[in-house]
Amino acid sequence: MDTTGAGALIRALEDVGCEVIFGMPGGAILPAYDPLLDSVKIRHVLVRHEQGAGHAAQGYAQATGRVGVCMATSGPGATNLVTPLADAYMDSVPIVAVTGQVARSVIGTDAFQEADIRSITLPITKHSFQVTDPADIPAVIAEAFAIAASGRPGPVLVDLPKDVQSAPATYVPAPPATRGRPAVSPVQVRKAAQLIATSHRPVFYVGGGVIRSGAAQALFRLATRTGIPVVTTLMARGAFPDSHPQHLGMPGMHGTVPAVAALQRADLLIALGTRFDDRVTGSLPHFAPSAAVVHADIDPAEISKNRRADVPIVGDCQDVIAALNAVVSRTPDLTSWWDYLNGLRSTYPIGYDWPADGALAPQYVIERLSTLAGPEAIYTSGVGQHQMWAAQYVKYERPASFINSGGLGTMGFAVPAAMGAQVGAPDRTVWAIDGDGCFQMTNQELATCAIEGIPIKVAIINNGNLGMVRQWQTLFYGGRYSNTRLNTHNRVPDFVKLADALGCAGLRCSEKSEVDGVITEAMAVRDRPVVVDFVVGQDAQVWPMVAAGTGNDEIMAARGIRPLFDEEAE
């Protein structure tokens, strides 16, 4: 017996290549923190709230393509990880959460800080373990990492009773756990290629799976060889360069008119690593009514879940796209299809009006941020209007440059995710584009960033309100603004002072003429995090919009303007 269960845990984490843990100690995880102090391979980032640890692990995982790790104690420490686990489950992010648990002898007795975290997280984890024998720890950690990263990635929980951590153990390295990857059916790929060859109005409907599988390059080759239009979902922004003329933008509820039209009018959807989410499809019976569907996904449970696939292909996007590249030869004549889409693109570009009251336009702030920070930066966002503007107005040129909470829609994601992304990509500029509501949920991690030397930059798009909810109240609740006003325009809190109190540089901007200067000033700060309070108008809205529950043909380019609906009526 040369070590303890805790010692074996740290060595096992080192052996699977873990280089950073975001976490916070507490009673039931104390034994693990002792050998952690001596590890030279693993950096521990002490967060201020366990939710921050979980989102940081997600940000790290998405920026690096590796498994992110977070650690917390039992009971409330573990339950604070529930939101990040659910988020990682929805967005297929590979993370491993290590939680302390009360000693085996008192499990089930309502002991101090006891919570049955395995049961609590059953529906939101890909898998979970509770270790009952310290000898199992190396194999469990190896398997947890393999499960998190393989197939459709996702969160894995490892729950460690305190006495198992303290027990004497001998460290025996576990053989690396490997999990196979499904072989792509050549028959299905040939069928897909035939459909592509005979289609007249095809479109690549690209989802986050293309980024997770590292298939962006292969997609670029396939798209440019075939000349087929591409749309990238919220989770796939950056999977295909925004600057490329074949890219029509993001589809869905706040997608571009040409991207939505491409799906609606298509005769063939080539769906890659995407799950036909309701924010993309709108009302399902009205979605892409005349399209045949090729649906490639690593998870067979996603295929034909929301829309029946004519040609299902189970496989990793990298393998599927490589196989398509090998067999797709003839490409259809797309001239009239492109004429139609280009017409929409020039008639209905993404755009915005300046507020009549002279307030700063939030879209302008994000546009300038994109121009000045550039495509090599990493952008994260919270959830709401600022997230949609970050998806619409930042120009993404490379995969994993936009990290946001898509499926779960977790407010407060931006700051801790940026922290994790910055740790994983220390040489990149990381901008958290956040809302004034979101920012107040998780800004305590700026103290972590200041202390740990993680110089993220935060752009608060401060419209004084829960902006997206307010937008819905404007559009669907007769302008009755129930509980959406946050009073941040009255400086409660004062974000500049708050930034200062958290050890960050704090800047403020409320004039168009100051935007570039303030962004440049923020970019020059390298020794600590920066927070910029962009005070913007409260009435700006996210357009285009497909109202929830309606068909995508009813997309409104702006309020009352329905290009596809009117086109049909002609």
């Binding site: 395995r118 049961s119 059953l122 529906p123 890909k126 898998h127 979970s128 509770q130 009952t132 499960i147 197939g151 459709r152 998870d299 067979p300 449970a301 295929i303 034909s304 879940k305």
Partner: protein
């Protein structure tokens, strides 16, 4: 609703039954009958479930299949209309 019988082999791991049952409740699947018994080194779970209108059995089977502890799964009988 439609009723189906499924039979599966599960790894003998702690909490495996909970994981399968939670999947049913999360996905709106009613469990009408369930039995679990040892089968060599594994467990055999026989279950009769009722699906919401429009939900597909094939998709439920794929969702079960992605559970790490589910080794094998079989659809035992043809679908029966409830009340028939």
């Amino acid at each position: 609703m439609t009723r189906h019988s499924l039979s599966m082999l599960l790894r003998n791991e702690q909490g495996v039954l909970a994981r399968v049952v939670v999947l049913f409740s999360s996905r709106g699947v009613d469990v009408e009958r369930l039995s679990l018994r040892p089968a060599g080194e594994l467990f055999r779970l026989d279950v009769e479930v009722a699906l919401l209108p429009g939900r597909s059995l094939a998709q439920l089977v794929e969702q079960l299949r992605r559970l790490v502890d589910v080794r094998e799964i079989r659809h035992v009988d043809e679908e029966l209309e409830l009340g028939a």
